[in-house]
């Protein structure tokens, strides 16, 4: 039964991140390949503050402040560089963040991670944690649904389809891009908080590039920009990811096989969804 709740919490706490990234990459077609750079910075700010002060409100504020600041940096970079150059440099930023966490070991404990993260008193029971995570995930899903159907969502779609045309119609690219990045940062802080409450341990390996591949795989497989598709693919691919643990293979074989399998799924998803992922531009 605990495994069932573990799956429920895993899906619920990652769903806002998937939906946030769906907004940036799926709908906005912004090649942001460093979301886990924002996530690791926010997570360490949150949990280090929590462990030093035991004050949840202050910790969440610290996590938010750091994640939003790094996101602004990413947003600014995305506005300055060509889309594909930004894609590569965002991976560089992500790797830089991991290097900072690993090397500032006097503060972050480096490769040892942060153990014994305290839980909120009312989230001690796993069922309570699961129900809270589901309730908040539904709240986020509602928020993203409203945003996608608002003028902001239409502006983001217009910019993705044809930037110059959108700008000539009065769409403010800077404002729309910054909002999309900030929303993703908020979703990351939420995901980190619940991940810490559930596992009570944070490690730099939880933010490696393979986790990003899982994120992009969910978006592409679900249909970029489609909320319903992304939710469905998040559930199915999380079940697959967690189910692989039970395959009777040695861990040093299982790890590489998981990489190959996820690589093949991502490739298949891009093949299947290539028209939705980057549609051919309209011509006269």
């Amino acid at each position: 039964m605990d495994f069932f709740w573990h799956i429920v919490i895993t899906i619920a706490h990652t769903l806002p991140t998937f939906l946030g990234y769906n907004l940036v990459f799926g709908r906005g077609k912004i090649l942001h390949f460093g979301p886990y750079g924002v996530s690791i910075a926010g997570a360490y700010a949150l949990f280090l503050t929590l462990m030093h002060t035991q004050n949840y409100a202050l910790a969440i504020l610290a996590g938010l402040a750091v994640a939003l600041t790094i996101s602004l940096l990413f947003a600014f970079l995305s506005l300055r560089l060509t889309p594909d150059s930004f894609g590569v440099m965002s991976i560089a930023m992500h790797l830089a963040m991991i290097a900072v966490v690993l090397n500032f070991s006097f503060l972050t404990r480096g490769a040892l991670g942060l153990p014994s993260i305290p839980r909120l008193p009312f989230l001690e029971e796993i069922e309570a944690l699961a129900i809270t995570a589901i309730a908040i995930a539904i709240g986020f899903a509602f928020l993203f649904y409203r945003l996608e159907h608002s003028s902001f969502g239409r502006a983001l779609t217009a910019l993705a389809e044809h930037e110059w045309h959108a700008k000539s119609l009065g769409v403010n690219r800077t404002k729309v891009t910054v909002i999309a990045f900030l929303l993703l940062a908020v979703a990351h802080v939420h995901g980190n908080f619940f991940y810490g409450q559930h596992i009570q341990f944070v490690h730099p390996n939880d933010f490696q590039f393979s986790h990003f591949v899982f994120l992009i795989m969910v978006i592409v497989a679900g249909g970029p920009g489609s909320m319903r598709g992304v939710i469905l693919s998040a559930v199915l691919i999380t079940l697959l990811k967690e189910g692989i643990r039970f395959v009777p293979l040695m861990p040093d074989v299982l790890g590489p096989i998981r990489l190959i399998l996820f690589g093949l799924i991502l490739f298949g998803a891009v093949w299947w969804r290539r028209d939705a992922l980057f549609p051919k531009q309209r011509t006269v």
Binding site: A92, F262, G263, L266
Partner: protein, 292 residues
Amino acid sequence: MQLLVNAFIAGSLAALIAGGLALVYGVLGIFNIALGQMVLVGGYATWWLHQSVGLPLFLSIPGGIAIGGLVAWLAFEIFVNPFYKHHRFLPLVTTIALSMILDGIILLLFEERPRSILPGLKETFIVYGARVSIEHIVLVVVTLLLLSLLAYVLHSTALGRRIRAVTQHDHAAMSLGIPAPVLHRVLFIMSGVLAACGGIFIGIDQSLTPTLAFALTIKAYAAIIAGGNGNVWGAILCAYVIALLEQLVIGVHWFNVFYVPAGFQHTIALLFIIFFLFFRPQGLFATRARTA
């Protein structure tokens, strides 16, 4: 002096990888995220042929290069060719999938242990106060020869003129009878071969580990972006500049107070490039594309 020599050796490796890639980016307009893994394929294949099969080094190196070229050709046919004409950003995602697949295969076949093509201590000697080995000199000379060959092919042969024509305007070149799709394939394989040479360089100079891949990819692309997207010589120059920055960051006793920990070597150079791109996003040597 030692810092400069180290920077020159590391820069030669990065230039070898970045040069071929800049050409691919200039012509096809695509980034290959699996580049680091393609570097490792060449290195590990040479290690396998030399250390496991027992072939002599002069046969193992061409074998490693051939396997690197073969993997690059397969990568082009499966992960790039069906996608890049549809939209040039699609290969950015498909090569992420390729990088995961190659990572998994490398881990399965060669495990996480460091593998050196020529294990054991290398004999070194002092030149102008800097310690170098015979292997270093051979690797740097071979790299410079390869880059000179690239320059000769690009600027003094009919093939080079065709390549430059396709770089400037794909469709205009095709209308003049230049087979652009064939050149795309040749250039991608050539970049794979140069990447495989880079892997062999690493395997002889240091040792190969699967974790090297992403750092190599990002450094090569940082050089390409900072050099001005698609400018081969700008990319090569920036590869040397990044290598020099990396050496200076950790080798200098800053303000006579502190040394930067070695773990920040790659990070600080990359952050510098990102900072630089804020002010000159088109890179150092960006060239304008021809228009009507």
